[in-house]
């Protein structure tokens, strides 16, 4: 039975019990059936023999005296026995003719076939069982002499029927018993195979979950119980060695990636992190910085005060590094007194990033320069820090470390306790930006006279000034004039844009109010940076400024860029609508350089688009730009808003623009930005011109009338 291999132990035990029982029962049944066959045959034989004895005794006289009639009558008395087919009495004589005979009418046909076969004359006393018949020959004796033979032929049909019935009932009992045996086997098997199944299930669970803390429950203390015990012990050993391996792995990792003294990542870990950061920067276009720190005079401390003190100093340095860095930044110890810090996610703008890195480095320098108290002794130490910036177009991790290391040496050469960039221009840039920030803050807080507003006139196609754009100027006391292109980004990053914007707003409005009071009907446009525009309280600031200055806000225009719209369009629209109730107008500055869609533009309550000067400058060199300019002009017509071109520097440009439908201009071709006094003069001059022309025409008319 090959299928038996795949069966479970439970099934095997079940089959074993059932088959053994089946075998035993079958054997018993076979024996009992054969005993029954024998008994039944013997009983039949006894019955027939008794009958035959009775008949042969009774028939002696009839045979002896040749009374066939009586003999036949006597034989006839057998008819009570349905099994007897046929009986005959033979006289011991020369011929084999039957003296008397009896035929059971039920077996008439059978008799006719059989009677011819038997030669009773030579038949000896006794009996003979065939499959279907019992032939019995018993002698008829008289006074010790055999005078005849009584031959009886008995059908075994009813015997076989009886045996068949017995067999069937035995088999039925056998099946019933087997069924109960099967039920019993199931119960017994559970006792034996249950623990096995439990064991197998437990093993499966453990190997599936890989959880070696599981234990298999032990049932009985037999062989299976011992297997379970052993298995549990084995699992326990595996679990223990797993825990050991895990602990070892952790230890190895600690040794491999962390510095034992300070607990900071070591050089290997640093290199991994740095490579990761470099990859990330090339995806996100952010800039990062690598700071290389070396403690000044550490060797002296170490030599004079001992290694223990030196180690404690290093620990303290590590502690300070850790506590003064942002979460994403990684400090590491790469040598005796050398540390490296990775600064991540600095600004995209390299200049801003450099400034950020510098300020972090300076902060660290200050932190590490403050006195240390080690074993109740005050120690002084300071770091020299080298900075190397990295971004998407940068070098490998090794190169970066070398760069930062070199910068650090430079800082040491320059006199220690310093921060030094690897790239000299970067150093300058960062420093300059730092100075700009400091100085701008100073200017805004305590010396606003350094700042002033200049105004660039905006003219129509007749060259008449209808408005002006206010532009900020910063006159640095020592560095002279600083371009807004340089200090505005710094202000944006540092948040100085808000006080600066406020200053511009209030000064611009004051100026407008002055001009309005002088009857100069000019428009004034002020640039608002996105951060300023979306700053909380901007609406209130503007409202208040408009009120205090008492200007006619109808002539006041806020220039916003497309990037404002890109933030939260709904919020922006809401704010613009509120401001519009004051009478303030909006224009989109630098139009064409952003990504604003027409759909957005239609939503906004704007009154003017300013074509960016870059398009105007390339009008005759780049045919695309001419097309863009045309498109913008056409779009303004479609939107029903005004259009103005800025940065117009030549007559050709002005003519092209005019021919293509633009009728407002701003640029050097007309006027440079100028101080308020100059602007006022121009406005007064124009006003006078107007009145003169009006007067001229009036005079001419009256003269003509005369």
């Amino acid at each position: 039975m090959p299928g038996l291999h795949n069966l479970s132990v439970a099934a095997k035990i079940r089959w074993m019990i059932v088959s053994v029982a089946a075998f035993a029962l079958l054997l018993t049944t076979a024996i009992s059936v054969s005993v029954e066959v024998n008994n039944t045959r013997n009983a039949l034989l006894d019955r027939v023999q008794i009958l035959s004895n009775v008949i042969s005794t009774h028939v002696t006289a009839a045979l002896s005296f040749g009374d066939a009639q009586t003999a036949t009558r006597l034989l006839q008395s057998m008819d009570f026995d349905a099994d007897i087919i046929h009986a005959q009495i033979y006289e011991i004589a020369e011929d084999a003719q039957a003296f008397a005979s009896y035929d059971n009418p039920d077996f008439k046909a059978a008799h006719e076939i059989d009677s011819s076969h038997h030669d009773y004359s030579v038949l000896e006393p006794g009996h003979d069982f065939t499959l279907g018949r019992l032939n019995l020959a018993s002698p008829i004796e008289l006074d010790g002499e055999t005078i005849g033979m009584l031959c009886i032929e008995v059908s075994l049909a009813s015997l076989w029927l009886q045996i068949l019935r017995y067999l069937l009932s035995s088999l039925a009992i056998l099946l019933v018993v087997l069924f109960f045996v099967y039920l019993l086997a199931r119960r017994l098997q559970r006792r034996i195979a249950g623990p096995f199944e439990n064991l197998v299930q437990g093993m499966k669970n453990i190997s599936a979950s890989n959880d070696f803390s599981h234990r298999i429950e032990k049932g009985e203390n037999d062989e299976v119980g011992q297997i379970i015990d052993n298995f549990n012990e084995m699992i326990g050993q595996i679990e223990r060695s797993n825990l050991q391996i895990q602990a070892k792995n952790k230890e190895v990792e600690q040794h491999a990636f962390y510095d034992a003294l300070t607990g900071l990542p070591n050089r290997r870990m640093l290199m991994q992190q740095l490579s990761k950061e470099l990859n990330r920067c090339s995806r996100t276009f952010k800039t990062g910085a690598l700071l290389y720190l070396d403690l000044d005079h550490f060797k002296t401390i170490n030599d004079s005060l001992g290694h223990t003190t030196g180690d404690m100093l290093l620990k303290e340095v590590a502690h300070r590094l850790r506590s003064h860095l942002r979460k994403g930044d990684t400090p590491a110890r790469v040598g005796g007194d050398e540390f490296v810090v990775i600064l991540t996610d600095l600004d995209e703008n390299v200049g801003v990033a450099a400034e950020n890195a510098l300020s972090v480095a300076e902060a660290l320098r200050k932190q590490l320069s403050s006195p240390y108290v080690i074993e109740e002794r005050r120690l002084h130490s300071s770091p020299s820090i080298g900075i190397a910036l990295f971004h998407h177009a940068n070098d490998s991790a090794d190169d970066l470390i070398k760069q930062a290391d070199l910068a650090m040496y430079k800082a040491k050469e320059d006199g220690r306790n310093l921060v030094q960039f690897f790239a000299a221009d970067m150093q300058k840039l960062a420093l300059r930006r730092m100075h700009i920030e400091e100085d701008l803050r100073h200017a805004l807080e305590s010396d606003p006279n350094q700042l002033e507003l200049h105004y660039q006139p905006q003219v129509n196609h007749n060259g008449e000034i209808f408005g002006a754009e206010a532009l900020i100027r910063w006159n640095h006391p020592t560095n002279g004039r600083i371009s807004p292109e340089e200090f505005i980004p710094v202000a944006e990053v540092t948040g100085l844009i808000h006080p600066l914007g406020k200053w511009v707003l209030s000064h611009g409005l004051q100026q407008l109010s002055v001009w309005q009071s002088k009857g100069l009907n000019t428009q004034l446009a002020i640039n608002i940076s996105p951060n300023q525009f979306l700053q909380e309280g901007f609406l209130e600031t503007v409202t208040e400024a408009v009120k205090t200055c008492g200007v006619n806000a109808e002539r006041f225009e806020l220039e916003i860029t497309e990037s404002v719209i890109m933030r939260d369009i709904d919020e922006v629209v809401e704010l613009m609508k509120e401001l519009k109730t004051l009478g303030i107008k909006f224009s989109i500055d630098d139009f064409g350089t952003g990504y604003s869609s027409l759909q957005y533009l239609t939503k906004l309550p704007i009154s003017k688009l300013k074509i960016d000067k870059s398009f105007i400058n390339d009008l005759f060199t780049d045919p695309n730009d001419a097309a863009i300019v045309n498109t913008i002009i056409a779009m303004t017509k479609h939107l029903g808003v005004a259009v103005i071109a800025e940065g117009v520097e030549t007559l050709e440009e002005a003519n092209f623009l005019f021919e293509n439908g633009c009728d407002a201009f701003q640029g050097y071709y007309y006027d440079r930005p100028m101080p308020a006094t100059d602007m006022e003069g121009r406005l007064l001059q124009q006003k006078a011109g107007f009145t003169a022309i009006e007067a001229d025409t009036g005079e001419a008319a009256s003269a003509g009338g005369h």
Binding site: T57, T60, A61, A62, S64, F65, I92, D143
Partner: protein
């Protein structure tokens, strides 16, 4: 067993052949020859009390109707005793020696006396005298419809402790109850 069976068969065969030859040869005595054989056969169905002598005596009273037919039985065994044939003509105590007493029709007149004489001994009385059994005889041979039959007075036989086997009674007409 087999050899015994063969022997029995052979003996019976020889005997029957012999007997039938006799029957054919003596045509006149045919009836009594048959009766002689009947007497022999009848004896086999009767059991006598134990005190019998060494021989089995078949006596004929009156004029012998058997001729030599009965003598031919001499030496045959009944009850393991060799048959002796005796002829009697007087009513004496001699009759009590007989195991079987055949009373010939010639003795019809003395029937009562004969029966009385044997009424205290185990003597099986047989006769073909009409109504013999009714008169107190034990076995009466009848000859109705060309066939020999029996009338048996079981009571008479029982009275002298003669036991007549029931198979014989199957063939007989019982007289005077059983």
């Amino acid at each position: 067993m087999k050899r015994f069976a063969i022997t029995v068969k052979a003996v019976t065969l020889i005997l029957l052949v012999f007997m039938s030859a006799q029957l054919v040869a003596q045509d006149q005595l045919r009836d009594y020859e048959l009766k002689a054989v009947l007497i022999y056969k009848l004896a086999k169905f009767v059991t006598w009390p134990e005190d019998s002598g060494t021989t089995f005596n078949i006596c004929v009273y009156g004029q012998n109707p058997f001729g030599e037919a009965l003598d031919k039985l001499t030496g045959e065994l009944v009850n393991n005793q060799p048959i002796t044939i005796r002829y009697r003509s007087r009513i004496t105590t001699d009759l009590n020696d007989c195991n079987v007493l055949f009373i010939a029709t010639s003795a019809n007149g003395h029937l009562n006396r004969i029966l009385l004489a044997t009424s205290y001994s185990p003597v099986l009385t047989i006769s073909d005298i009409q109504n013999f059994a009714s008169f107190g005889g034990m076995i009466e041979l009848t000859n109705a419809n060309q066939q020999i039959g029996f009338r048996i007075n079981v009571k008479a036989a029982k009275a002298v402790e003669l036991n007549i086997a029931s198979p014989l009674l199957e063939l007989a007409t019982i007289v005077g109850g059983r």
